[in-house]
Amino acid sequence: MKYKFIDEITSDVVFEAYGSSLKELFENSAEAMFSMICKLDLVEPVDEYKIEVESDDVEGLMINWLQTLIAEVDIKEMFFSKFRVTDITEKSMTAFVYGESVSKEKGETVVKAVTYHQFELKKTDDGYMCRVSLDI
């Protein structure tokens, strides 16, 4: 399983993402978040963007990664549907994301921010798990 949604109350959506490696965890977390933001299967990966993110620790890296992606929805007006993490350490990462321009038909929910509420990132027997809460 790549990810699952845990809880949906009025202003927060919580999901858990999984991955056998950090790379996969970050890719799946982005995919989970964008499955809230847009209709993933309709968004064509026509444009490619490179994203570099840094932080003091791996938890902060995940939050920065997701926040950067949300910011790009507003700034570049893009929906992303494909995520490829090429390099990752606990403090920095490089990824390529693919998508197309925002359109009403392909939009779902406006995600305002990633919150620290219920946030968790841990190593499991199978790899990694991360719980993220989105402010919608």
Binding site: V53, Q67, T68, I75, K112, A113, V114, T115, Y116, D135
Partner: protein, 132 residues
């Protein structure tokens, strides 16, 4: 884009999100667009026009007389070839025979060449060049 900030009302996360956005807008971080790549098949096709040494393929193919085009216009091949080009269209060389290293001297003893020369004489007789 117009951004409104209410430091009392906005949550810590929203302010942090705003900080990320402002850094991206200022060009300090965020996504950088990667120029569109040519897909592998197109790239291979483009490379082949220079790689294929045969007159019938690749870039040179547009001048050469491939077997396909010869089949398509079987009648035209005999009469449309000028003796100046030195070979018939069916030999697959066409205009390239002008530059060929294998060009045979006029006084060659080869029977193949002499028969080719005879063919060229016939063609010369049968073709009349009309001004445009």
């Amino acid at each position: 884009m117009k951004i409104e900030v209410d430091t009392k009302f906005d949550s810590k996360e929203e302010l942090e999100h705003l900080a990320v956005m402002l850094r991206a807008i200022a060009g300090k971080s965020g996504a950088v667009r990667v120029p569109a790549r040519v897909n592998a098949r197109d790239a291979a096709r483009q490379a082949n026009i220079f790689d294929d040494p045969t007159p019938s393929g690749g870039l040179m193919g547009m001048f050469g007389n491939s077997s396909q085009s010869a089949d398509a216009q079987p009648v035209a091949t005999q009469s449309s070839v000028s003796p100046l080009l030195g070979s018939s269209a069916s030999d697959g060389q066409g205009i390239f025979s002008l530059f060929s290293d294998d060009a045979v001297p006029e006084n060659s003893d080869s029977s193949e060449v002499s028969s080719s020369d005879e063919g060229a004489d016939e063609i010369t007789e049968s073709v009349r060049l009309e001004p445009y």
